[in-house]
């Protein structure tokens, strides 16, 4: 596709259940990011993948959160034992090259809205 694709667009789950969110980046983009957007909290960095390098997991809020990127393309963000405070929009972004000032633009998907009841 032409842009970053995320699924599902909406997910409602019960507290304690596990959820998986998927991201399909722009073809050829080597860098992939997950951000979380909560009301009034802006965009919170979660995790960064670059090629075959070890991911930067420094933004993951707890060990209930994990992510993987298979074959340098599609990524899955998994939240185990969901809590109500996990309710947010989870945004995936990709960029052509590695992160940092030399690369510039992030291309975001439309996000996956997670509601934990």
């Amino acid at each position: 596709g032409a842009g970053v694709s995320q699924s599902p667009s909406n997910k409602v789950t019960e507290k304690g259940k596990d959820v998986e969110l998927r991201c399909d980046p722009i073809s050829g983009h080597t860098a992939l990011y997950w951000y979380r957007q909560s009301l009034g909290q802006g965009l919170e960095f979660l995790i960064y993948f670059q090629g075959n390098s070890a991911p930067d997991k420094s933004g993951l809020p707890s060990d209930r959160f994990s992510a993987e990127r298979t074959g340098g393309s599609v990524s899955t963000l998994t939240i185990q034992r969901t809590q109500q405070e996990d309710s947010a929009v989870y945004l995936c972004a990709s960029s052509l090259g590695p992160r940092g000032a030399n690369t510039g633009e992030l291309f975001f998907g439309e996000g996956s809205r997670l509601t934990v009841l």
Partner: protein, 111 residues
């Protein structure tokens, strides 16, 4: 050190007016300052960006002003239009860092 502070949280401007959003940062290593625009139900998209070797950058009705000594930068939207109504995020990064975003400003341009 990684924080970017953005103000105001929300802004209402009349059509044709000037919208001004401000950001401040602490980390002097930051050397890339983009602004992203987000419409409801969409992901953020790059609007305009500046590097600290210039004090101002203009693209159409959008201008970034940068004050390195004060560690502040701002977005000015001239002749604001209802179609500009969106949430605006400032951000900053340095050479090998992930973008750090401000908390966003919801802009409403009234007709």
């Amino acid at each position: 050190q990684q924080q970017v502070k953005q103000s105001p949280q929300s802004l209402i401007v009349q059509k044709g007016g000037i919208s001004i959003i401000n950001c401040a940062y602490e980390n002097t290593a930051f050397d890339y300052f983009p602004w992203y625009q987000q419409f409801p139900g969409k992901g953020p998209a790059l609007l305009i960006a500046i590097r600290p070797d210039v004090s101002e950058k203009k693209e159409g009705r959008f201008t970034i002003s940068f004050n390195k000594s004060a560690k502040q930068f701002s977005l000015h939207i001239m002749d604001s239009q209802p179609g500009d109504s969106a949430t605006y995020f400032c951000a900053a990064s340095w050479r090998y860092s992930t973008l750090t975003f401000g908390k966003g400003t919801m802009l409403l341009v009234s007709p």
